[in-house]
């Protein structure tokens, strides 16, 4: 069981999330350097972080008819929702809070990015941004339901929406093993709500950056950070939902959580580079005709197992 409610977890959870996100950025930079034929090393891995001081010194920009309030609300929503999602993500034997509706909380925070990205696209009154914002909604219509069925499959397996219970229920056999479809749909969902790799559709190069096209300075820093924070949060949540949480032989539970999270994070960073952007006009059809029926069947499996328990 996980222990909830220690006050220091309030600082540890966001801190750990930022570290994991930074590791993902550094890992991606190393792969970038390898592909580009540069020297692979620590110096190359930390170079993306030069963007942080760069964002802080940047002069603010003012567009003629921007809606600054909505724009900034949207930009801030993405990283803040990512941090809030860690409320229910256990790490080893510790979690900030373990409410009885933890899975729903995570889901709800993830859906906040819909509003956030759409507002971030609408705010600057720029055509490419606007189209980028709408692209995320179209993408959401495709990725969201398979992701929800994946979450429900895990919850059904444990007959609980409490994340701690779900991790504990995988005693001996991980859900990733006997619910592989749900696990895959979940990981695809993580890439989608981080709008990275094959789901970078709202921030596409063909849209001159889409929702990222007009943001600069601190706004840009927060929105970019939001993407990687969400990737890290999604990877960390995969561990209690599908990989048995902190359970494992030999090592302490926090170490197992860390190892498993890093493996999932590494897998996501690697997969994101192996695929082109999946446009929503193709993915919506695939998601509704193939993924949703498959994930529904997947959710039926743990329900039937429960009846025979």
């Amino acid at each position: 069981m996980v222990e909830a409610g220690a006050w220091w977890t309030l600082l540890a959870a966001p801190g750990l999330l930022v570290v994991l996100a930074a590791l993902a950025v550094a890992g991606n930079a190393v792969l970038d350097a390898r592909d580009a034929g540069r020297l692979v090393g620590v110096a190359g891995a930390v170079r993306p972080f030069l963007g942080v001081p760069r964002a802080l010194v940047a002069q603010p920009r003012r567009l003629p008819a921007q809606d600054r309030l909505l724009w900034r609300t949207g930009v801030v929503t993405v990283p803040v929702a990512a941090v809030l999602s860690t409320l229910v993500v256990p790490f080893g034997g510790r979690v900030v809070a373990d409410p009885s509706v933890g899975v729903v909380w995570f889901n709800a925070m993830e859906v906040l990015t819909w509003a956030g990205l759409w507002l971030a696209g609408w705010g600057p009154d720029a055509a490419f941004s606007l189209i980028g914002g709408y692209r995320f909604l179209a993408q959401g219509l495709a990725y969201e339901l398979p992701l929800m069925f994946a979450l429900i499959s895990a919850a059904t397996g444990a007959e609980s929406l409490r994340v701690g219970d779900i991790a504990a229920a995988q005693d001996g056999l991980w859900y990733a093993v006997w619910m592989p479809l749900a696990f895959a749909a979940y990981l695809a969902g993580v890439l989608a709500f981080s709008f990275l790799g094959p789901f970078a559709y709202p921030a596409g190069r063909d849209l001159a950056g889409g929702v990222l096209g007009e943001v600069s300075g601190a706004d840009r820093l927060l929105l970019q950070a939001g993407r990687w924070l969400w990737l890290a949060s999604g990877a960390a949540m995969a561990v209690p939902l599908f990989l048995g949480g902190g359970a494992g032989p030999g090592l302490p539970s926090w170490a197992w959580s860390l190892v498993k999270t890093l493996l999932v994070l590494g897998l996501l960073v690697w997969v994101a580079r192996r695929l082109p952007v999946v446009r929503a006009d193709r993915y919506v059809e695939f998601a509704w005709v193939v993924l949703i029926p498959l994930t529904i069947v997947q959710a039926l499996v743990p329900a039937l197992v429960n009846l025979h328990r």
């Binding site: 920009r61 601190a218 329900a303």
Partner: protein, 116 residues
């Protein structure tokens, strides 16, 4: 610490961090005042406001989505009572889902899932 307190505290910490980033940017910024810029148009001037009644061609998909999303509201609590209610809970839920999926198949045949 209750769940609500924890959630609100976490929100507070996140917002403080966000304010900190904006504060640091405000303190470190270069230049006098904001730069007047135009939205990117590949080097050309904009001829109109981009904000408009945007024609989302996937509007039929949103209707389907809404039906499923409502269904999810039932399915979340349902996960907790499967054993207690027995086979009838599973049968009812998946018959309901089958009805919805047949709706999806119909919409697909009508071409509602393609818009280009």
């Amino acid at each position: 610490m209750s769940g609500t307190t924890a959630a609100l505290s976490l929100l507070g910490i996140a917002l403080i961090a966000v304010v900190g980033v904006y504060g640091a940017a405000w303190a470190a910024r270069i230049g006098s005042g904001a730069a007047d810029a135009a939205p990117f148009g590949s080097g050309l001037e904009p001829t109109e406001h981009a904000v408009s009644r945007f024609h989302v061609r996937w509007y039929t998909v949103t209707m389907l989505f809404l039906a499923f999303d409502m269904e999810m509201v039932f399915m979340y609590p349902w996960t907790r009572v499967i054993s207690a209610m027995g086979p009838s809970a599973v049968i009812e839920m998946f018959v309901f889902l089958a009805v919805l999926v047949s709706g999806v198949v119909y919409a697909w045949r009508e071409g509602a899932l393609r818009w280009t």
